[in-house]
Symmetry: C2
Subunit: 147 residues, 2 copies
Amino acid sequence: MEPDILELESFLPYRLYRLADTVSREFSRIYNERHGLTRPEWRTLSGLGECGTMTATELGEQSAMHKTKVSRAVAELERRRWLTRTPDESDRRVEHLALTKAGLAAYREMVPLAKAFERELLGRLSEEERTAITRGVAALEGALSAT
Amino acid sequence: MEPDILELESFLPYRLYRLADTVSREFSRIYNERHGLTRPEWRTLSGLGECGTMTATELGEQSAMHKTKVSRAVAELERRRWLTRTPDESDRRVEHLALTKAGLAAYREMVPLAKAFERELLGRLSEEERTAITRGVAALEGALSAT
DNA sequence: CAAAACTGGTTTCATTTGTAACCATCTAAA
DNA sequence: TTTAGATGGTTACAAATGAAACCAGTTTTG
């Protein structure tokens, strides 16, 4: 191992990114091929499906998206009539977002597929490998949030 | 844990992506703030620095980039005079890419920073956590490549 | 109360990206 | 050979993205 050379193949930031990219690409078929959703749209749907009613800001925090992404995703889901906006009573800048029946239906349809995807992926690993990835990811998350 | 709800916060594809995104963003400062490189440009530089001479196709495989990204990154590094192209003798479609002195200098300057970044990141973890993330990532890589 | 500072959310603009079409060259089959 | 397909690499075009400016409304402060 030469000192002034970086082995990309074993460099953690690169490996993480490539891994996430591959997984994410595979997974995107579930929301993209089926419904033509983008990732921000999927995350918005997913966030609202999970939490019920949220504001755009909350959505951004919950799903780690830039507010412009949220804004655009919300606009598109509204255009599809998958969500509605309700103005806040006390603060007129704020809107409360919630899925419509159609949005909820799409969400409910995709949740089992998403779970199956994850299960299948983890199913290819041994029990120890599963604990390893789970613990490792959690540890890194902790290390980064503690900044 | 309701059956028809997906917890984004504990959904592996999401966590992986967010993690890689955060790490990658942090790391990009090393090549972006310092030299104004994009990620594809950094990977190209890094690939050539590590392997010496490569073709564009090889670069794409080694660093998991789409060929248009490679093409653009190579064009930009060439414009900076950080790499040169040498036509292949026997196959005139192919070009062999290699770093110039200036390119190599930039690479050599960044390698220790990259290594320090990784060391510092892993340094925030315990010994067991480090083995966990390493094993876990390797396991997933294996599971995905085996497809 | 008025001005300044801040916050939720949208829009604009430039950059990055992916898909597909595209050259040029090479290889294999008829 | 000649032609049909592959392959290395670039380019054109549309879509996705991020930074910064922006608007409307809210809070703070003098």
